[in-house]
Amino acid sequence: MQKLILSNPLSPGDILISTSAFRDLHLAYPGQYLTDFRVPSGCEQIFENNPYITKIDDNDPEARHIRLDYSEIHRSGVSGRAFAEAHTMDLAKNLGIEIPITKLSPDIFLSETEKNWPNPVMLEHGYTGEYWLINSGIKSDYTLKRWHRHQLVVDELQGKIQFVQIGQLEHDHPPLKNVIDMRGKTTLRQLFRLSYHAQGAISAVSLQMVIMMALEKPCVVIAGAREGCRWQIYPKHRFLYTNGCVPCAPHDGCWKSKLKDCVNLLDYGKVPLCMELIKARHVVDAIMSYYQGGVCAF
């Protein structure tokens, strides 16, 4: 049995999506591999209850160390591949074997206690009704992901949908009005539980989007045109992209990260054109389509 220590030093969203590689390897070659992971502190929570993980010592002479990568991203604008496939493809290449892709979503394994325990909104605020999560902020290294109309969506749906605002306080998450504030009040596992109990989420292309992929829950993704749309789109999600509508991202995404690098800024340099094209009503309609289609119910 081969021992593999797979490392991924990136952000929680990237690490979460790489769990599909662990799964696909074990499903293709049951009993032939032992796998462990090395990730930044705090991200170990992603792998709690994951049946594909076995503790392997760093100094185990039989262990092979592989850094999980997703080099397919460089071809994503033309290949049409999904991010969820990329780590598996890279691992297959490293091991010199074929690993069939089993599904387009990563894995979160919640314990029965996590599923059945009252959700963190109830624990924090005593709120027991249905809710959607709203992730309206950005990390400082991806300022191009900001969309500017979240409050309008909240206002439009007030009385119909209760929103719960999430986000890490060390990132940029300005407070919204008329929402339940859970910013800075969740660990990763709590965020998973919060997401499990939510009806859906509004998010940029972010960790929250990947969590909703893993849990196979509705998510309205406000993407703009920063990334290749087929790279990030997930069937259960309403993926609002504007690739092809703007000259700066005529097919593939522009792949820029910072607002200052955007070549089509509006509103005195605050809003990228690709985001400006996404109106509040587009997001509201996307949310409502889950209700009209019967996946969600009031």
Binding site: M122, T186, R189
Partner: protein, 313 residues
């Protein structure tokens, strides 16, 4: 000489309500009829004679005097401090055993909480203890229900309240027995595992006790080694549960830190003293007892998780 000779005999028969039939005989010397009546009533109330099968004699030097039980215990009703601690001690002597009716009440509370929070597997763990120990199963939850039949608790605190099951047991017991709710409830916990929170405790307490009692709860969040010494109430506690960190040094620190807070006649309850895994705190309790033998009345049970009580004299 003024005395009352009192005898209670459990006939072994059951009345139409399912209660044991106790036959009482008494005679007094130097007591008026009213005094004799009052002394008898006092004895019945204080010593819970009907709950003790067999035969017990009490010599009482009149109401307000000293009662000497035939097992050597002494009750002096004129000393309020001693009365409460001794009353509790004497009462619990006969309650440190499994009682099926009390057991039903304990599980009833837990099942109500389970319905509210299906993810909490504490009920299943507790059922496991019951299955393993059968009619010997005893926990401090049972003791709370027994205590509430006779005693009220005006100020209570807990270290390690978790989801609030313990405080729910206490409040449910008080409510069932028509007793007043505590004037103050101080709950200490770190609340940092992502599953428990003050809100959850409040929801559970309201579900069990109702009446907005949860509004009276004060939560003290953080390491009890810091929060308890910082806690300077202007009242003393009649019930203190110590069930926080099970690191032995921490547990001892908790015991030492609550000691100045216990009222005369108050109870310190220390959980998990049995040798079971994740318990095993008996050495801490033994250490705590050293030099305090005469300061408290001591009771212990090693059944299931095990618990110990120190009743402040």
């Amino acid at each position: 000489m003024r005395f009352l000779n009192f005898t209670a005999v459990d006939t072994g028969k059951i009345d139409s309500n399912g209660k044991p039939i106790i036959e009482y005989t008494q005679h007094g010397e130097g007591l008026s009829g009213k005094e004799k009546e009052a002394a008898t009533r006092w004895l019945l109330q204080e010593i819970t004679m009907p709950m003790i099968p067999g035969k017990i004699k009490v010599d009482c030097l009149g109401v307000g005097g000293t009662a000497l039980l035939n097992d050597g215990r002494v009750i002096n009703p004129t000393d309020e401090k001693q009365t409460r601690s001794l009353r509790i001690y004497n009462y619990l002597q006969d309650k440190m055993r499994h009682d099926p009716c009390t057991n039903v009440r304990v599980f009833d509370v837990m099942k109500k909480l389970k319905a509210l929070n299906p993810g909490d597997t504490y009920l299943e763990a507790y059922e496991g203890h019951y299955q393993r120990n059968g009619d010997k199963f005893l926990d401090y939850y049972h003791i709370l229900h027994e205590l509430a039949k006779k005693f009220s608790f005006d100020h209570v605190m807990e270290i390690g309240c978790r989801t609030g099951i313990s405080i729910c047991q206490l409040l449910s017991a008080l409510k069932d027995n028509g007793r007043e709710m505590p004037k103050t409830i101080d709950l200490f916990d770190v609340f940092n595992d992502g599953f428990i929170s003050p809100m959850l405790v409040k929801i559970n307490v309201n579900h069990i006790a109702g009446g907005g009692i949860s509004q009276e709860i004060k939560f003290h969040m953080g390491d009890s080694k810091k929060t308890v010494p910082e806690f300077k109430p202007d009242y003393k506690m009649s019930w203190i549960l110590v069930d926080g960190s099970h690191d032995r040094k921490d547990a001892m620190a908790d015991l030492l830190n609550v000691e100045p807070l216990v009222a005369d006649g108050g109870i310190i309850c220390f959980d998990d003293i049995s040798p079971e895994p994740e318990c095993n705190l008996y050495p801490v309790w033994q250490e705590f007892k050293k030099g305090r033998e005469d300061k408290y009345y001591w009771l212990e049970s090693m059944n299931a998780k095990g618990f110990a009580l120190a009743i402040c004299r």
